[in-house]
Every structure is written in structure tokens, then in C-alpha cells.
């Protein structure tokens, strides 16, 4: 069958079972858009290409499938870079199709030409420039395969205009690609070492990360922890991989981790780290991180091991399969923790929890941001997918929401991209139209991709925005308060639009809460409307996120805030 490049692209998307594309047209993708006009694949017209990539990324994080976007050459392509870098840092499988000038013009500084494969080389898992229509089908197949195999990541495919317009034979059955799958090899010797280390440990701790969610290993991790009563802490990316309401859960660790999680890491004698990469926000000073512990690290990517922290027992492998092997091996060898030792350790963690719980003080006439998050959690019973922006809003959500299930907390962890939450929520809601999807936002971040309200309005993608409006770039202001003697250099953003009117101008619903008593009714109303809703919560302006580990300090040294704040 003879087909044009643009037709082959759509055929291949169907082969890959792509049901939705987030995109934005332009000159060099006109042929593709002409095919989309006739196709059954759903296309969401975003308002900025960055929004398209974050939406595809949100879709991917919520479903575990590959997210797809399509943009034009030149500025369309360069606008995707922040989105791609965001996905890359968090290992999210997406495929980004960019238009390109005709092959004959590449290198000529042609109109709307940009070397997008060069620009994105360091922030993609891989990228391709398709030089001829003959290699198109196999390249697309390879792109999807690479995006989702092994440690997932973003793949960019650059499509010159003439390649889209040229015909060639298309036969899906004959497409062959290299296999990038990593086959799981059981490692009985390593399992024996795990058994030995666990047997010797008096104070074991599990640390769960994004690799557990990406590897779909939350059930195994939960089983391991519960079977042997091992307390669990997690990184930002790991939230939801172990139930946030389980008594074994100690909360997030690191810079804004709980007191008890950071104390547990600092005092444990065995740390089982699964799918984490020991980011500096997590470890504090490396020398003091888990200084009393032997570390077992499980990760699919050898480059994550021994990079920041030296570990005693590295196990390279798929998190799910490895944890399953581990559970089996421990059972077969009748591993049983000594009951008195384990109960002493659990008692110790409970004492830390009691001494400095995660808390805040909702008194007076000003809404505390944490109270909004807790109320949201109460009203939804956690039955919701939450995205966040970046800053205090993100950290309070991580601290107070208590995520019970994987793929329900969607946030830009590695890159920390402001403006991520709204378009990501749109992507999530497209994947799960029947689920409640909420973007917990800051007033600075939401303005970075605010244009996507039009996208939500156009398609009635009924995402809910919970805006914690403090009139500041709050997290930066917090650092200025703590480390720069309150010199609030360029962080006051109280000059802002009236968000309720702005919502209405976009054709969505805007609600506002000013007093604590209005929080619950506004949330209730906002959540019950089947339209996109922006809820503007005017919160306490100078609330800080605590605990906080000062950069360059050990995570056992935390600022806990004032007494007034914590009782």
C-alpha cells in the first residue's frame, strides 16, 4: 500500500494505540493536520506548546502509557523544551513530534528552522531526525518503544515537511526494530545478601521513589513493608507508592520531609532504597545521610546507583520483579524479624512522630494553606488525582495530602517546573474524564501557563484549580525570610489579576474564599460543578513550609518553625 508520510504517521499512531494528541499547528505540520482532520484520533488544541508537552506528560503519569504531542518547527519546537526537560528529569514516557523544514533546506537557517534534535539532545532519552519517508514507520515504532522501555523517558521525532508529503510503501507487518527491553535476571546471591542484611538489622527502613511508581511496583513494596513491619519513607516522586494512611508510613523525607522521616533515615541501620536517585534535596549533606545505615539500592538504571550515595548492595533490575523475588526469597528462607527489636524500632519512630508531628495552626481570620489541602483531602476522601505547581503549594500538598495510591500525585519533581500543574491536570482529566482532577496551585506558577484555561474551557475539561493565593512567589520569599533577613527582592506578586474574573473571562467558573469558614463550602461547590473551576483561596501571606532542612545541612538538623505555628 502506497501512503504519504503524514498518512503513515497517523497509521503508526493507531498501531501504537494512541487515543489522544496534544498539539498546536503551524506551517511545517500542515500535511499532518490535514490528515488529523480526517482521523478518529482525538486532538486537543492547547494554547502554548509547553502546555501540550505537560499535558502529554500528565496523561503519561496518570495512565502509565506514552503521552503524545505534535507541534510545528522553529518556535513551536523550541517551546517544547521546558516540557521535555521536565519529563526527562522524572523519567516520563512521552513522544514529541516536531515539524521541520524540508530536508533540502535543513542547515540553511530557513524560515522557522531550528536544530531541535541538537537542542534537545541533552534533555531527551533519545531523538530522531527522520531523513526519508522509508525510515518513518520504523522510527516511530522505535520512538514509542524507547520511550516506554527500561528507564522511561521523552523521545523527540523531527519530521521534515517533504518527508510528510512523500509517498512510500507501507506495510505495518514488515516493520522491524531493535529491542531495547531489559530482561529481568533473578540474582539469588544478592537475595541471600538481602536476607543476611535484614537479619542483622535492628532498625530497617524502606525508602520508596518514583521508580516504584514507574515500575508499577507499589503493591510489591507495600506487601514487603507490611509483611515484615518495616517503616516506609518516600521521596516526592514516590508519594502514593505506599499508602499515606498506613501506620508504617513516615511521610516524605528530605528538605521538607517530616521530622520523623528524617530522624528515621538518620538513625536506621539498614536502608532499602527502591527506585530513587538520592537527589540533593532528599539527602541533605551526603556525608551525614543515613550515616548509620547499610544501604541496599534497587534501580533499573545502573547510572542511578553509586552516583550520589555509596551503597553496600546495589541491585540493578526492574523494581517490580526484584521486589517480587525478594518477597519470595525471604519467605522461602523463613525470614522473621526479632519481634522485640522491631517493636522497639517502631516505638521509636512513633515517639518521633508524637514529638514533632506535621502540623500547622488554623486560628484567626486568615486561611492557612495547609487547611485548604486537608479539607480537600477530607471532602474527596483522597479519591482524586492531584497535580501541583511548584513551590510551597507543592510541598504542602506532599506533606498534608496523604496519597494512598500510585499515579494519583502528579508533580514536577526533578526540574521543578512552575506552570506544570494546570496543563498536566488537563492531560490527566483527558485520560480519566470520570475522576476528580485537581491542580493545587500557587499564584505565581498558575500565571505561567494560565492560557490553558482556554483549552479547558473549549473542551469542557473540568479540572479544578485550588489556588493557594499568597500574593508572593512564596517558596522564594520563604528562603529570603530565612536566609536573607526578609529582604523580599522581587517576590511580591500581589499585583495580579482578579482570578475569579479571569476565570469567568475564560468561560469557566471562578470562586473565592477569604475566611477560613468559606474554605469548605467553596471546595464543596467547586468540586460538584461539572465544568472547569478556579477556586481562589486567599491564604496567609507569609506562612512557611516546615520542617525545613537548610541547604548544605544534615537532614537530621531541621528548622521546625515557631511554637505558635506548630501547636
Amino acid at each position: 500500500m502506497k501512503l504519504k508520510g503524514s498518512q503513515i504517521l497517523l497509521k503508526m499512531l493507531e498501531e501504537e494505540k494512541v487515543d489522544i494528541i496534544f498539539g498546536y499547528p503551524g506551517g511545517s505540520v500542515l500535511d499532518i493536520y490535514d490528515q488529523l482532520y480526517k482521523s478518529n484520533i482525538k486532538h486537543i488544541l492547547v494554547r502554548h506548546e509547553q502546555g501540550a508537552v505537560h499535558a502529554a506528560d500528565g496523561y503519561a503519569r496518570a495512565t502509565g502509557k506514552v503521552g503524545v504531542c505534535l507541534v510545528t518547527s522553529g518556535p513551536g519546537a523550541t517551546n517544547t523544551v521546558t516540557g521535555i526537560a521536565t519529563a526527562n528529569m522524572d523519567s516520563i514516557p512521552i513522544v514529541v513530534f516536531t515539524g521541520q523544514v524540508p530536508t533540502a533546506l535543513i542547515g540553511n537557517d530557513a524560515f522557522q528552522e531550528s536544530d531541535i534534535t541538537g537542542i534537545t539532545r541533552p534533555c531527551t532519552k533519545h531523538n530522531f531526525l527522520v531523513r526519508s519517508v522509508e525510515e518513518l514507520a520504523s522510527t516511530i515504532k522505535e520512538a514509542f518503544h524507547i520511550a516506554r522501555s527500561g528507564r522511561p523517558g521523552p523521545v523527540l521525532v523531527d519530521l521534515p515537511k517533504n518527508v510528510m508529503a512523500t509517498e512510500t510503501d507501507y506495510d505495518p507487518a514488515s516493520i522491524k526494530i531493535r529491542n531495547y527491553d531489559i530482561f529481568h535476571k533473578p540474582a539469588p546471591k544478592k537475595m541471600a545478601q538481602v536476607l543476611e542484611m535484614l537479619t542483622q538489622a535492628k532498625k530497617p527502613l524502606i525508602m520508596t521513589g518514583g521508580g516504584v511508581i514507574l515500575g508499577k511496583a507499589a503493591a510489591e513494596l507495600t506487601e514487603l513493608a507490611r509483611l515484615y513491619q518495616i517503616p516506609v519513607t518516600g521521596t516526592l516522586m514516590g508519594l502514593g507508592s505506599f499508602p499515606g494512611t498506613d501506620p508504617l508510613w513516615l511521610g516524605m523525607l528530605g528538605m521538607h520531609g517530616t521530622f520523623y522521616a528524617n530522624m528515621a533515615v538518620s538513625h536506621c541501620d539498614l536502608l532499602i532504597a527502591v527506585g530513587v536517585r538520592f537527589d540533593d534535596r532528599v539527602t541533605g549533606t551526603i556525608e551525614t545521610f543515613a550515616a548509620n545505615a547499610k544501604i541496599i539500592q534497587i534501580d533499573i538504571d545502573p547510572s542511578s546507583i553509586n552516583r550520589n550515595v555509596v551503597v553496600e548492595l546495589p541491585i540493578i533490575g526492574d523494581t517490580k520483579a526484584t521486589l517480587r523475588d525478594m518477597i519470595k526469597f525471604l519467605a522461602e528462607h523463613n525470614y522473621t524479624p526479632l519481634p522485640t527489636e522491631r517493636s522497639e524500632w517502631l516505638k521509636q519512630t512513633a515517639e518521633w512522630r508524637e514529638k514533632v508531628p506535621l502540623t500547622y495552626c488554623q486560628n484567626g481570620q486568615v486561611i492557612k494553606p495547609q487547611y485548604v489541602i486537608e479539607t480537600l483531602r477530607k471532602l474527596t476522601k483522597g479519591n482524586v488525582i492531584v497535580t501541583t505547581e511548584v513551590g510551597q503549594n507543592q510541598m504542602w500538598t506532599a506533606q498534608f495530602f496523604q496519597f494512598d495510591k500510585p499515579n494519583t500525585f502528579i508533580t514536577s519533581g526533578g526540574l521543578g517546573t512552575m506552570g506544570y500543574g494546570l496543563p498536566a491536570a488537563i492531560g490527566v482529566k483527558c485520560a480519566f474524564p470520570d475522576k476528580q482532577v485537581v491542580d493545587i496551585a500557587g499564584d505565581g506558577s498558575i500565571q505561567m501557563n494560565i492560557q490553558e484555561l482556554a483549552t479547558a474551557a473549549q473542551y469542557n475539561i473540568s479540572v479544578k484549580i485550588v489556588l493557594l493565593n499568597n500574593g508572593y512567589l512564596g517558596m522564594v520569599r520563604q528562603w529570603q525570610e530565612l536566609f536573607y533577613e526578609k529582604r523580599y527582592s522581587h517576590t511580591d506578586m500581589s499585583y495580579a489579576p482578579d482570578f475569579v474574573k479571569l476565570a469567568e473571562a475564560y468561560g469557566i467558573v471562578g470562586l473565592r474564599a477569604i475566611k477560613p469558614g468559606e474554605v469548605e463550602p467553596v471546595l464543596q461547590k467547586g468540586l460538584s460543578i461539572d465544568k472547569p473551576v478556579l477556586m481562589d483561596f486567599q491564604v496567609s501571606r507569609e506562612e512557611c513550609v516546615y520542617p525545613m532542612v537548610r541547604p548544605g545541612e544534615s537532614i537530621s538538623e531541621m528548622e521546625l518553625g515557631t511554637r505558635e505555628m506548630i501547636n
Partner: protein, 161 residues
């Protein structure tokens, strides 16, 4: 841990950009490439890159892991601590200045240098050897008045095979 030169042999799919990806992976993470040699193997689709870089054992392990992550990389071996042979080649041009002519001819005889071009005006020599041998040859060539020189990166082969 001590910093020293490591010879890393990388087998790759001969795809567009593969060298840029490798150089970028190292450069972007702050590692320097001291020397480089790239060409296809007996199969056109597979290339071998031999690269010298300086670092301690931990840095080198990190570099190897980062390289392994690249989709087009098939295999990475550090040939530094295994039995392997290393060779470099130089091409040197010596002009026959009046006062150097005899000296040059004598040196070529003494050191058994291979002459590939010779005429009244100059000779071009081809010298191969491992790094110390090349460095020694360069020291001997110095007083003869080198007018142009080109030196390859290191090629290396593991003796175990």
C-alpha cells in the same frame, strides 16, 4: 582515589549524531575527552569509539554508566586495568633545511622511521607506537624542525578478545 588516564572502548550503532551524543554526555556532565578515535568496524552499521579521559575509578564508573544509558551504545569497556594494547599514530613533515638535512637522514636510519613521502624539499614520516613510544619519537623529532604534525587518538584492543 587517584586520577589517571583511562582508555574506554565504546561499541555503538553507527547512527547519525552518535558521536555528538557521546561527546555531549561527557561534556554536559563536566568530563573532558583527552583523545578520541572513531571508525566503523568490519560491519558498517557498528562503529567503535576509543576514548581517553582522565578521572578516578568512581568517575570513570559514572561515565561508563552514563554512556550505557545512551540508546545507540552497545557496549562500554574500560581497557585501563585489563591486558590490552594501545597504539597511536603520527604523521610528521620535516622540511630539509640546509643545516638539518644530514641530521634528519641520520635520524631516519637510526630510529628506522617509516618514510611515506620523500623529495628534495621534505619528508613525511609515519610513526606508530604506544603513548611513551610516540612521546619519545616526538622528543627526538623536536630538534629536527617539525613543520607539521598530526596525531591520532588512541586505538586499543583487549588481549582476551
Amino acid at each position: 582515589m587517584e586520577n589517571k588516564e583511562h582508555i574506554i572502548s565504546i561499541l555503538v550503532h553507527n547512527k547519525p549524531d552518535v558521536l555528538a551524543r557521546i561527546a555531549g554526555t561527557l561534556g554536559g556532565k563536566g568530563y573532558n575527552i583527552e583523545s578520541l578515535c572513531v571508525n566503523t568496524t568490519t560491519k558498517y552499521e557498528i562503529s567503535k569509539i576509543v576514548m581517553a579521559t582522565i578521572g578516578n575509578q568512581a568517575t570513570i564508573a559514572r561515565i561508563e554508566n552514563q554512556l550505557q544509558r545512551l540508546v545507540d551504545v552497545i557496549q562500554v569497556d574500560d581497557l585501563t586495568n585489563v591486558d590490552s594494547i594501545h597504539r597511536e599514530m603520527i604523521l610528521v613533515r620535516l622540511n630539509f633545511a640546509e643545516d638539518k638535512k644530514e641530521q634528519i637522514k641520520k635520524a631516519i636510519d637510526t630510529y628506522k622511521w617509516k618514510v611515506i613521502v620523500s623529495n628534495d624539499a621534505f619528508v613525511i614520516l609515519e610513526i606508530t607506537g604506544d603513548k611513551p613510544q610516540i612521546d619519545l619519537a616526538l622528543a627526538r623529532l623536536e630538534p629536527l624542525g617539525v613543520t607539521d604534525i598530526t596525531r591520532t587518538g588512541i586505538v586499543a584492543l583487549d588481549l582476551k578478545g
